[in-house]
Symmetry: C2
Subunit: 400 residues, 2 copies
Amino acid sequence: MSLIVQKFGGSSVANAQRVMNVAKIVTDTYKEGNDVIVVVSAQGDTTDDLIEKANEINPKASKREMDMLLTAGEQISISLLAMAIEKLGYPVVSLLGWQAGFNTNKAYGSARIENIKTERLQSELDKKKIIIVAGFQGVNKSDDLTTLGRGGSDTSAVAIAAALHADRCQIFTDVTGVYTADPRKIENAQKLSDITYDEMLELATLGAQVLNNRSVEMAKKYSVELEVLSSLVKEPGTIVREVAKMEKMLIRGVTKDTDVARISVVGMKDIPGNAFKMFSKLAAKKINIDVILQSVGRDGTKDISFTCASSHAAEAVEILEDLFGLEGAVVSSDTSVAKISIVGAGMQSHSGTASKMFGALYEAGINISMISTSEITISVLIEKELADKAVAAVHKAFFG
Amino acid sequence: MSLIVQKFGGSSVANAQRVMNVAKIVTDTYKEGNDVIVVVSAQGDTTDDLIEKANEINPKASKREMDMLLTAGEQISISLLAMAIEKLGYPVVSLLGWQAGFNTNKAYGSARIENIKTERLQSELDKKKIIIVAGFQGVNKSDDLTTLGRGGSDTSAVAIAAALHADRCQIFTDVTGVYTADPRKIENAQKLSDITYDEMLELATLGAQVLNNRSVEMAKKYSVELEVLSSLVKEPGTIVREVAKMEKMLIRGVTKDTDVARISVVGMKDIPGNAFKMFSKLAAKKINIDVILQSVGRDGTKDISFTCASSHAAEAVEILEDLFGLEGAVVSSDTSVAKISIVGAGMQSHSGTASKMFGALYEAGINISMISTSEITISVLIEKELADKAVAAVHKAFFG
């Protein structure tokens, strides 16, 4: 007998029929002799609808009241799923975040889980009940409701799996697993049977929208075995764990990120501390910067370019103009770029990976404007409109 | 400085504009120097919408899960009202039933309040905050959410007023107070400036749909002064308290109840215990019976007629046929009747009240088929289609 935690997102429980479908998956798992804890998000567009209601009344509502409002969303979905499971004739109980023991700090809107008091969960498991837990929410020391921020339901599921030492945490999505590239766009995209936490983190960061990053980090920290699988198609998904099975794959995937801007500062004075000033100021404004390129400019100046999310571009430019405008530097931003990356722990020991990638891009006639590498990734910046072509070319080079 | 509890029903907070209107009323009361605790129901049709969602999935869902589902309704309305008050610039906090200390028994769907732990409420009042409390809900000893049943928000408001010894509990509705008759139908209907608890109870029971009965009983028990007033029209409402001001009114109102059926059992054996059997059996099935008329029948038999809610008529007939069908009694039901009542503590000391009522009906050509009286009411059963005419005639006789 195993303890399985299953997480279903909002689209998986969007209407009565889908709720029944989830109830079927859950009870099938229970019938096989497993203890089952299910974490669900709010139905479909519920969260967005609630945000709209709030904005109609007060777009500057306090985060405390926003959390009070939004947590109602999962309360609706957990009770409906419990009712569906009752209909199938299985013992079930739904629990809100606070009932399931999710104690968080006071950061309304993006609370951190401090601990999970597992007494109630354990006692319901002892009664052989299927437990449905409201994702994305907890309670702070003042007995006020908090939310874990967007994507928080994944984190809720992993946290429960960690706290109760579950045998597996299954994250059900609308895709059947993690692929070497977006299967809707790349014909030969292959599903990975398993992948390491680090690889998954890079893929998530790089735009592979499958798993919430914070939940993968938590899974890594507590060695929770994750499985990404589909709630609609019954087939094994992709398993995320510390040591992936040996496969003859140097790289695990090719991703693109088009929500990226290149910011350039041309003609900064070449004096010590300028780069520090620049990036500490950006960090203070919570602008995450990514690929950085520094080069020597004319007449004792230097040029620095970096990338950030395109939504931060305008603010970054403003900050940099304040800092370096007076000394004559020119700040510009360019959002017509995309970042293409390859990810794979296997590439660490293979020197030819980078040249293989660059070669594929060269043959496709695509110019590279910036490059950055980590132990398990290589990223390049190219023109945005060539992004799909670039992914196809690189994917073909590695996966044929 | 007074402590005022204000209760707003679902239609008062049905949309953003109405929520803002309620926020205005609440903050006006606060600005006058009062402490204010507000109890709100779920918005407009939210509760019905949630019930429909549940029925789509499992019409026989457990009451525990139904309560989990339905309590989300008030969670949405309290947070939205709090946001509206934040927008007006006042300190505010919304609290769910369990946060406000509503401890109930385990009767999901119709829980009784066992006590209100007032610490949190008191500490928020000490911080000079306006408190918005979710009506209709509480928490039981297992930390599970419960609902107080339909109309429960009135009860929540009165319970808070009683627990904190509030100076007044204002129940905001879509009418401006309690009238001598339905003002939409009777031109001369007069608003009562005040009324006793007992009179209010009779008026509510008799169909004056203004206040939930249970809340009036609780208000009477704990001497909570109630005020029924409009959330849309700013004018004093009707005050409900133990001793109403002396007014030269024998009666306080004329009501009609058309949701009534007359059940007749003709030809029962005239032996001791039959009436007891009959009414204890009906009570066991929770069928409330009202006006009772017993008469001697033919050949040593007796006939009993009584009234009950028309929704219970079929079940009552079935029970009575089981009991008395074998001994030859004939059971029938008639839903083409209506009950017209006059209510007023003043009538106790005036002998002419009944004859004045009967005279008015006689002059209007309306036949009376059953009569029942209590200390403060006189009710008659007449043909349903004459109900409005009867109310008008009786109202005219007493109020001109």
